[in-house]
Symmetry: C2
Subunit: 144 residues, 2 copies
């Protein structure tokens, strides 16, 4: 999660919402992909940190499945990213700040609990919650 | 929707699930992007037809919003695509076949009805339903 926080911080320099994510091969504890939001940079409303690193890792592995991976994210995933994480067959989600407004895992659509979700990763929220949350709150305050 | 069906059919040749989508600028009724699933071709579990054409259209317009667009899809969007369509601020969703198993609009997570969905496109399902459904049923039958 420290690494996810680090890439989230780098997003601020590009004026992107500071969310960072890291994919880890849990068998050897090795980071296989990390990245942040690039929505503005890429003019792409789907370019959330989670989507970016899933795409990069799958391209690298020439596979649509990341069964050997856990994902660490500084913010609760939205509904889009939650379903993408499920599609990629990722084992576990560890995330930092809760997102009552736009989250889609423990709030809102609760995508992973729905009947149309066919792979349900284990979810652990609130990891380094304060650091992850402070980063976002500080960013949005600076925008006002 | 005829155009969406046409691109869906083209996906069969690449052994992809035949789902097609088209983005239309509703002000001048012009198609601005069309495409099908490329999940296998691109080794990308996020490369559903909807995501592909939203990314292409936004890149072309250098914008993260497609407020002037409606989307036509041969199949009910999943939760990932439903949230992506919302993120892109698309006005209306017209879709063909209902998807009780994996749909995320009128089934499952019903993403657009959730409190974490901040732009809710109008939804019209069942357009050319039989043609869209027959295409998918035929594809999966041929795989057995």
């Amino acid at each position: 999660m420290q690494k996810a926080l680090q890439v989230a911080k780098s997003a601020i320099l590009r004026d992107e919402v500071p969310v960072g994510a890291v994919l880890v091969d849990y068998k050897n504890n090795k980071i296989i992909s990390s990245g942040s939001n690039t929505v503005i940079e890429d003019s792409d409303p789907t370019a959330h940190a989670e989507i970016n690193i899933i795409r990069a890792a799958c391209r690298e592995k020439l596979s649509t499945h990341l069964d050997d991976c856990d994902i660490y994210i500084t913010l609760e995933p939205c509904a889009m990213c939650a379903q993408a994480i499920s599609n990629a067959r990722i084992r576990r989600i560890y995330y930092g700040a809760y997102d009552p407004k736009s989250g889609g895992v423990d709030h809102g659509a609760r995508v992973l609990e729905s009947s149309s979700c066919h792979h349900k990763p284990e979810v652990y929220g609130g990891i380094l919650e304060k650091e992850c949350s402070d980063l976002l709150v500080g960013f949005f305050k600076s925008k006002r």
